[in-house]
Amino acid sequence: MVQVTEADTVLNCAELSTREVNAALAELPDGTHARITEPWGRHNLAVGLSNSCTIEIAGNAGYFIGGLGAGPAITVHGFVGWSVGENLMSGSITVHGNASECAGASAHGGRLVIHGDASARAGISLKGGTVLVGGDVGHMSGFMAQAGVLLVGGDAGDALGDSLYETVIYVAGRIASLGADARIEELTADDVLTVKRLVDKAGFDHIDPENVKRVASAKQLYNFDALKDQKY
């Protein structure tokens, strides 16, 4: 069910091109609220915005929703395609549905919340952003993630955290397998506080912060000599 709020601006994708929608969003004054209606899987909605507005997308959207964003708070009442919030710099994206592959890819900052499941490669190449998934994530999630946090409220697929750098992954459910150089570490009090803060922000009520697994890099592949055993 689509629940939307009053908006200063309503942009109907059935009547407007992607260019027209994004150009209108870019002109929004800070503090205003826009609603995008009838998205019908449209790609590249609300990309490259740096104004501090709030945007609702009333329905399912396509690839790269909110990509490269540096300011707005975007809420999607539906599913999203590949690479939602890719290269996010700041601001937030909240998806009340499932996300397809590469959610939050290379996000440098900001917060991406997915209330449903995410597919493969969630949080890939993460560079400081926060990716919070209420449900499951697919294989190769957290691949080569450099900084930031990936929280998984459900299960994680194969090769979780392959070639991790400094990103920390928390998983509430089962982990099918870990990727190269990823390892499960002891959960500290700081981790519990971090997870509690994250689940509160996301509005997840099914995750016990004291009962998650912490996955981080074993740092055995940080330098080239490690290649002697062809671990890559």
Partner: protein, 464 residues
């Protein structure tokens, strides 16, 4: 009766410590360099990493020559008659195409792999001659943006330092799918070059060996690429040209797919392309040379009738005005140079200048196991002339202003060579050079470039 080959001239008895003549017979399968490589692998247990590019002999533009004008063609006066070099890139969809004074650009090389002084010098030189330079795997440095009037911002698989603010500051965007030195392979920056500043720009701990991913994190195929290009255009109001850079492998199909995905410009980087660091096995054994790559790319654009809408930029081992002229004649709209401007800057020079005094760097080269003129040790970060380093002491060996002057001189010289050849072919615009102006000196080059073997009308593989 078979005539016997002449015997080697009798030689004096070898000294006791000298290897007898018969014992020096060279093995074709295991020449000394192969033996040395096997011995190194047995010692170290891993593959060799180095900079530069392919060092093996490859078919190249050297294997072509121009059929300049005589009676059947009318030459232009070599010095004075106008020969246009202006070049426009990105006219297909971008509202602000790139306008260059010369069809010679500076290729993407990272801050990190190169010092800040080197990036500044390249930007300054490119600006002075009216052309563009390109960022690299590591983001846009403030010095580079300030020095470069026209700056192409690379969107690489690693996305190190990639951000909306810098995207908006760029004059064009280049999505790097592959690189001629290592098509299909990711980038590499060894820990000794990962200074605090480089690490900060790349969001990684200082000192780690950085592996740049070999594939993009947010798209995988040509249909995705089309949407990715649209995203970048939307984020920049469809102003900036979008280039797609390919390492030359399956050139025909890749060029067509890049065009179908919406590229304004396709950059094809041949096997001779350089790098700051990668595996030697990649450099010498992956991709195809620039010579066949340019011909295949141009043919692909013609086949889909896009040669007038999408510009082709070619790179990989281009050194001189004759190389540029031949690339343009085979169908390129512009070329991109990497290693050559670094050499102009001082790479592989025996000396460096500091405080107005010339210093000999030979011993520093030798400490790296090499000599001036042979160095490919960019990966070590110990560049004796301050170009491929993050060591402040070494970087101080490069005076950015003096280096820029050398690169300006070099680019001007290359342009003069280019226009001289074009005029001799009767062209008032370098972009009017055409395959018909060329013949090949070897059968292989004739087949690869699709031009006749010199003195014949024969193009190998072509039906007559």
């Amino acid at each position: 009766m078979t005539e016997m080959l002449p015997r080697p001239t009798a030689r004096a008895e070898p000294a006791a410590d000298e290897i007898p003549a018969d014992g020096r017979r060279r093995s074709h399968t295991f020449p000394p360099e192969s033996i040395a490589q096997i011995q190194r692998m047995a010692e170290e247990g891993h593959y060799e990493i180095r900079g530069w590019g392919a060092k093996r002999a490859l078919p190249s533009f050297d294997d072509l020559t121009f059929l300049t004008a005589s009676i059947s063609r009318y030459p232009l006066e070599g010095y004075r008659e106008k020969c246009e070099t202006r070049t426009v890139l990105g006219s297909r969809f971008a509202s602000k195409p790139i306008e260059l004074d010369i069809p010679i650009t500076i290729a993407g090389m990272s801050f990190g792999s190169l010092s800040a002084a080197a990036k500044t010098a390249l930007g300054t030189a490119a600006t002075a001659v009216g052309t563009s330079t390109t960022t690299g795997d590591g983001g846009m440095s403030t010095e580079e943006r300030a020095a470069s009037q026209l700056l192409v911002y690379q969107c690489l698989p690693s996305r190190y330092g990639f951000n909306l603010a810098d995207l908006r500051k760029a004059d064009a965007i280049e999505i790097v799918v592959g690189q001629g030195a290592k098509p299909g392979g990711g980038g590499m920056l060894l820990g000794q070059k990962v200074s605090d500043r480089v690490a900060g720009m790349r969001t990684l701990p200082p000192g780690v060996d950085q592996r740049s991913a070999s594939r993009h994190p947010d798209w995988v195929g040509p249909d995705d690429l089309r949407i990715k290009i649209e995203e970048l255009r939307e984020a920049t109001s469809w102003e900036k040209p979008v280039y797609v850079k390919l390492g030359a492998t399956r050139v025909t199909n890749d060029v067509k797919l890049a065009v179908a995905a919406g590229a304004d410009v396709v950059v094809v980087d041949g096997m001779q392309g350089g790098t700051g660091a990668t595996q030697d096995v990649f450099l010498e054994n992956a991709g195809i040379p620039t010579l066949p790559a340019v011909r295949q790319a141009a043919a692909a654009l013609r086949e889909i009738e896009m040669e007038d809408q999408v510009q082709l930029v070619v790179s990989g081992g281009i050194r001189s005005g004759s190389d540029v002229a031949k690339a343009l004649a085979l169908g390129a709209d512009a070329v991109s140079l990497g290693v050559a401007p670094l050499v102009a800057l001082g790479c592989n020079s025996r000396t460096y200048q500091r405080d107005g005094i010339s210093h000999d760097a030979t011993e520093d080269y030798r400490a790296l196991g090499t000599e001036p003129g042979h160095c490919h040790k960019m990966h070590t970060g110990q560049c004796p002339v301050g170009i491929a380093t993050q060591d402040p002491e070494l970087e101080a060996r490069l005076d950015a202003a003096a280096g820029a002057r050398r690169v300006i001189n070099y680019l001007k010289s290359v342009t003069m060579e280019l226009t001289t050849l074009a005029r001799a072919c009767g062209k008032s615009d370098v972009h009017n050079l055409e395959p018909e102006d060329l013949v090949a000196l070897t059968v292989e080059a004739a087949a690869m470039a699709g031009v006749p073997l010199a003195g014949t009308n024969w193009i190998p593989g072509e039906q007559r």
